[in-house]
């Protein structure tokens, strides 16, 4: 075609179809060569448990050189092995290599008997217990806390409620202002009768949470992504990585009903983390009390937690030592992309080491 929106001849279309078919042909061979796509690559030991939650310590190849333990608080939604997905995509592995003593809270898979667990149980019960375990185990007054996504909001709340137990706070892709104009999830749940919802479903099914996330961009996440898979079909290694990500995406725990109710109502619907008035158990959550050094890392193309939702922290946090790192990527890429491996762990490592004295 000389004019018009496309510059393609019928022969070029046939060539394009041939290329696709070639990839499909190679794909059959690749599918047979796909390796093990188990998730989580770094050895770890269980240190403590509380209900279904387990505190893990990651075991590096050499002993940690940093005395203050670094505790990762992941979100309740999805599984925490995203921070240690595979050998060349592991924030944990890089932090261990830099000498940090890395721990992780695995919240587990709540069942019907957990549906009354609320945020007080999670934060002032489970998380606080694990922090105390680490303080005792490592002989320190306070830990370094790294919160990811919803786990970052939890880390902020925890730091506000127990500031003396947190030496340095790192938040990654963490929502703080839950009502920025570009927050689609927030928009959708504003008219939700969350009490009625939780009363009816009990725990919120993980599959339903997945559906909500995937419908944020239905054409891209459920169509274009899989058409793009054709390009990877001749590479067993890429195919393996793709399937590992798929495993993570669809491995979503159910959400304890009471905690979900509180999170939707107080965070999304009333935006109390930033507006004030948030109470968790007997504690008032005032971000002004987060006075320890804070490193806030957000992703510029994050469709789940828009950058503005994270950046809002700088205006409300009490810390005078506040640092922001803007990552060129999305909500998932910040853990697993090649760029993330090059940029994120070193940023955390250097920031922490500057503050270890």
């Amino acid at each position: 075609m000389m004019f018009g929106p496309i510059k393609i001849t019928p022969e070029k279309l046939i060539e394009e179809a041939l290329r696709v078919q070639q990839k499909l042909g190679a794909g059959l061979k690749s599918l047979g060569e796909v390796g093990n796509y188990d998730v989580g690559c770094t050895p770890k030991e269980a240190i403590a448990k509380d209900g279904k939650a387990v505190l893990y310590r990651f075991l590096g190849e050499s002993k940690p050189t940093e005395k203050t333990p670094l505790l990762i608080s992941y979100a309740l939604v999805n599984r925490p092995y995203m921070v240690d997905l595979q050998e060349d995509r592991s924030i944990v592995r890089s932090l261990l290599a830099a000498g940090h003593d890395v721990y992780l809270v695995d919240w587990g898979y709540p069942d019907a008997s957990d549906r009354l667990m609320d945020l007080d149980d999670y934060l002032n019960g489970v998380l606080d217990g694990f922090v105390d375990q680490l303080r005792a185990r490592c002989g320190v007054d306070a830990v370094n806390l790294l919160g990811v996504c919803q786990g970052g909001a939890f880390a902020l709340c925890y730091a506000a409620m127990h500031p003396h137990k947190v030496r340095n706070l790192i938040t990654m892709v963490t929502p703080v202002d839950f009502q920025t104009p570009d927050n689609m999830l927030s928009h959708w749940c504003r008219d939700l009768d969350v009490d009625q919802f939780v009363d009816a479903v009990g725990n919120v099914p993980g599959d339903l949470m997945n559906w909500c996330y995937l419908t944020l961009k239905p054409y891209r996440l459920n169509g274009q992504k899989y058409l793009g898979l054709i390009d990877m079909l001749d590479s067993p290694a890429e195919l393996t990585n793709f399937l590992r990500m798929e495993r993570w995406i669809f491995d979503s725990p159910d959400q304890a009903g009471a905690a979900f109710r509180q999170f939707i109502r107080d965070f999304y619907q009333h935006n109390k983390l930033i507006e004030g008035g948030l109470r968790i158990g007997d504690h008032e959550v005032d971000l002004g009390r987060v006075t320890m050094p804070v490193l806030n890392i957000f992703a510029e193309q994050d469709h789940l937690v828009p950058p503005a939702a994270s950046r809002a922290l700088r205006d409300v946090v009490g810390s005078k030592d506040y640092t922001e790192v803007s990552f060129k990527g999305g909500h998932i890429g910040i853990y697993v992309s090649g760029r993330a491996q090059r940029e994120v762990p070193p940023a955390i490592d250097q920031w922490l080491k500057k503050r270890r004295s």
């Binding site: 018009g4 929106p5 393609i8 042909g25 209900g51 005792a136 007054d141 928009h187 909500c212």
Partner: protein, 387 residues
Amino acid sequence: MAAGGGDMPDLMGMGEQYWKAWTEFAQGAMQGRSIDWRDPVQAFSRAAGPLGEEAGHAVDALVEQGQRYLGFLQSAASRMGAGQAMNPPNLAELWKQNLGADNALVDAIRAVSAEGARGFEQMADELRPMFEQARGEWMKSLSSPAFGFSREQQERFQALLRAQSEVEQAQAAYHALLAKASRRGMEYFEERLVDRAEPGRQLESARAVYDLWVDAAEQAYAEVAMSPEFRSAYGEMVNAQMRLKSRMQDEINRQAGQFGLPTRSELDGTHEKIRDLRREVRALKQRLADVEAGRGPVTSEGVPSPRRSAPEASAMPRARASSAEPSKRAGAAVTKAAARPVASSAGKSKSATARSARRQRATLVDATDVAPKRAKKGSRKSSKRGA
């Protein structure tokens, strides 16, 4: 292959067969014979055979998208071969025909629900058979004279029927907005095609056309999804469904109670008691630790103060967990190993607070094994292809 379950097909052998078939097919295409360009994708799907969860879902989705894409390729090649101009309206129309649906967004969102993700419509579909089964009885009851107990029953049944009607209305309103986004997506697609109709900006592959459509469709969807109407419709769709579900649960509870079966409310009461007991145990353990440590309470500033809840943390055996994280779908358990209490491994503390904390934990720990991870919740639906 890790994903495969059961007897795996001979993929290598099939690959060779597939490639041979494709070569013949391609030769046919070049010679202009009437064949369906989508056939190889279907052949790929058949040759891949039944696969495990992730691979099965990925291949299903790939096949669906691949057929759409190759179908478009063939249609475009055919029309161009016939000398038809591929101007923006023609291309947009061709793409629309290729989608095969008036409301592509409804299809796209339903497709999201196919595997490992279950949406509100699927939840409603699951309620429907139970509802329909009971509807006959309710209608019969509604036609009887209403006195006393019968009147209350009639009111409940009427409320149920109203709730179902509200669900249908709410879903229709939601779908109407999706249809609006679908239409707008096609409009944007055409506009974007017009933008590309100048030298230097032209699309040079059918794949680029597909990507342009995705961008346009997502833009339109995002605009509609962020509108106040959508927010309201989405909320009402969920709320209406939950009202119906709650009413049905009440009805089932009532009937279960009549037969002396345990009810949801009884279970709720039991769970509440467990939760309260668990919190009390935490608080008691904390108080005991405070007493044994001979210290006062700790405030949030680091000085002693009372605490509402104490951790119920138990020391774990030094088990080296498998480097392969068991997922809920794998249903594996964490490895057991010899017990070694946490307290014995605590390092030397230099601060009074840390010493105190260590003493406190030493009184709390007891060596237990890690609880096995939750058993597989229910494997993802079997592959559509394999079904």
